[in-house]
């Protein structure tokens, strides 16, 4: 018994089918499917410790960025507020507790780099 089945497609389904047909005909579908497959496999292979390390790295960079960006903005504001300091003005700035804290930090920062060389 031979039966012919006619499937009614909506306009949108038809458009989708045409796009998929194009991808198959041009051979592009291979790379696209492979890409999705690789993404899926990488999700499968990813473990919790890997996620933690990746996120830790992101957080470290974000923190360094935050601290630096804040310091730059603060420094710019203070520098803009005042005249270029005289030598005496520089000494006054050195006397300030926050400045000394920052300088000690920079020296320790230098030391931290030295330790890694």
């Amino acid at each position: 018994m031979n039966e012919k089945v006619e499937v009614l497609k909506s306009k949108e389904m038809q458009a989708l089918e045409e796009k998929m047909t194009m991808l198959v005909q041009t051979g592009r579908i291979d790379n696209l499917i492979d890409l999705l497959a690789v993404v899926s496999d990488n999700i499968e292979m990813t473990t919790q410790p890997m996620v933690e390390k990746m996120i830790g790295t992101v957080d470290n960079m974000a923190t360094a960025g935050f601290v630096t960006e804040n310091a730059v903005r603060y420094a710019k504001r203070e520098t803009d507020k005042n005249e270029v300091p005289s030598l005496f003005g520089m000494l006054k700035l050195l006397k300030d507790k926050d400045t000394r804290k920052g300088l000690a930090f920079i020296l320790n920062l230098t030391k931290g780099i030295g330790k890694q060389l």
Binding site: T46, Q48, E52, G56, V58, D59, A62, F66, Y74, R77
Partner: protein, 396 residues
């Protein structure tokens, strides 16, 4: 005259809002027209959703604590001083140190606290994962249990239509417990019973405070062999006999009682005279759109302290914070608030140790539950251990 903005509270709400205000008002800060001060009772900032991982030995806890100063932009003055008195007539807050903090605008962001002592016997006989101390106690019990029953109970505030902290947490921890005991090979001998109260905001006799999720939970629990019953509102615990009693007249024995205890606003808020909540709970009357404290012209609130029906969670604060910051900025600049909160809450629920489910809802729409995934869990855990700190700093 320099305008003073005071933020009371150094948790998620206070920190995000202080940073967002500083960003928004940078031109005023540069001109020296505005100063922002944040006072907190602690030098440290705790990421509260991390505590439940401690309960299952998946975290030690220290990963979720940072120094508050490191999370705030330098334009914000940060002082460790617990607020002990709020005077809205004369626009100042008094700290424990005796110092007075005057303000032109204030943000009350002191959150909420677990109050197990409000149910007789609960403090002595029950456990909870909402604090790090409580989670550590639970971790030791979960580590050693080989057989018996873990009973889950959930209590809501007595003030109507207000949730407990983090609505999804009881479901998350129940499924996490199932996974944990399965991992340890003792799940077959440990019965897990999830109970829910008769009244849960607009849901009656359900398993969750929203209908769509409440409807799918029985099937999810059945699939894991988790027993569930509704109509159980815990009102007494016998710590010696290890029996939990309900308002409805039932009693259930337990070996471990993993409870969601009653929650209340913090002491300074409860004693401020600003609250209209029942039972001295202290929730602040909040305008659901502007997030102003009702009846006051220059005080805003957000986070866990509000009397709104939205979730007491970080994912709520993340959407409220910009409304508050923008409104204070526009009040300073134009004399009136311009933004409106639409009730949006976003989160990724930890539905089991390795399965995450993104969710969102607002004043108009409830959560539509979807299947959880491994990738969802990675994003949630990535948030816990990294993205949260960027969010607290106002970077995301």
């Amino acid at each position: 005259m320099k305008k003073k903005i005071l933020i009371v509270g150094g948790g998620t709400a206070g920190t995000m809002t202080a940073n967002n205000l500083a960003k928004k008002l940078m031109p005023e800060i540069d001109r020296g027209d505005v100063e922002i001060t944040l006072i907190s009772n602690s030098k440290y900032h705790y990421y509260r959703p991390g505590a439940m991982y401690v309960a299952f030995h998946k975290s030690e806890g220290h990963e979720f604590v940072r120094e508050q100063r490191s999370l705030l932009m330098p334009e914000i003055e940060f002082i460790v001083d617990a607020a002990v008195e709020i005077n809205t007539n004369r626009n100042f807050v008094k700290g424990q140190s005796g110092k007075r903090y005057e303000y032109d605008f204030m943000v009350l962001a002191t959150g909420c606290e677990a109050a197990p002592e409000r149910i007789p016997g609960l403090k002595e006989g029950g456990d909870w994962f909402y604090t790090y101390e409580g989670a550590r106690k639970l971790a030791e019990k979960f580590q050693t249990i080989k057989n018996g029953r873990v009973l889950i109970t959930v209590n809501f505030p007595k003030t109507p239509n207000i949730p407990h902290q983090c609505g999804i947490a009881p479901v998350e921890t129940t499924i996490m417990l199932h996974d944990y005991l399965t991992e340890k090979g003792v799940r077959e001998n440990v019965e897990i019973v999830y109970t829910y109260p008769t009244e849960a905001q607009s849901v009656h006799n359900g398993l969750f405070l929203q209908e769509p999720t409440s409807k799918v939970l029985p099937a999810i629990f059945d699939g894991m062999g988790i027993k569930h019953k509704t109509g159980f509102t815990l009102n007494k615990v016998d710590p010696n006999k290890k029996v939990a009693y309900s308002e409805e007249g039932e009693e259930m024995e337990f070996d471990i009682l993993m409870s969601t205890p009653p929650f209340i606003a913090s002491k300074v808020i409860r004693e401020s005279g600003l609250s209209k909540a029942l039972d001295g709970e202290g929730w602040l009357p909040t305008d659901r759109k502007t997030l102003k404290v009702k009846g006051l012209g220059n005080v805003y609130t957000l986070g866990d302290t509000v009397d709104l029906p939205v979730s007491k969670a970080g994912g709520t604060i993340h959407n409220q914070t910009d409304v508050v910051a923008d409104n204070i900025a526009s009040e300073l600049r134009y004399g009136y608030p311009t933004e409106s909160y639409d009730g949006l809450v976003i989160a990724i629920a930890q539905m089991g140790l390795s399965c995450g489910m993104p969710l969102w809802y607002d004043y108009e729409e409830d959560v539509q539950p979807t299947p959880c995934s491994k990738l969802g869990s990675f994003v949630r855990k990535g948030f816990n251990k990294g993205i949260y700190w960027a969010a607290a700093r106002g970077m995301i």
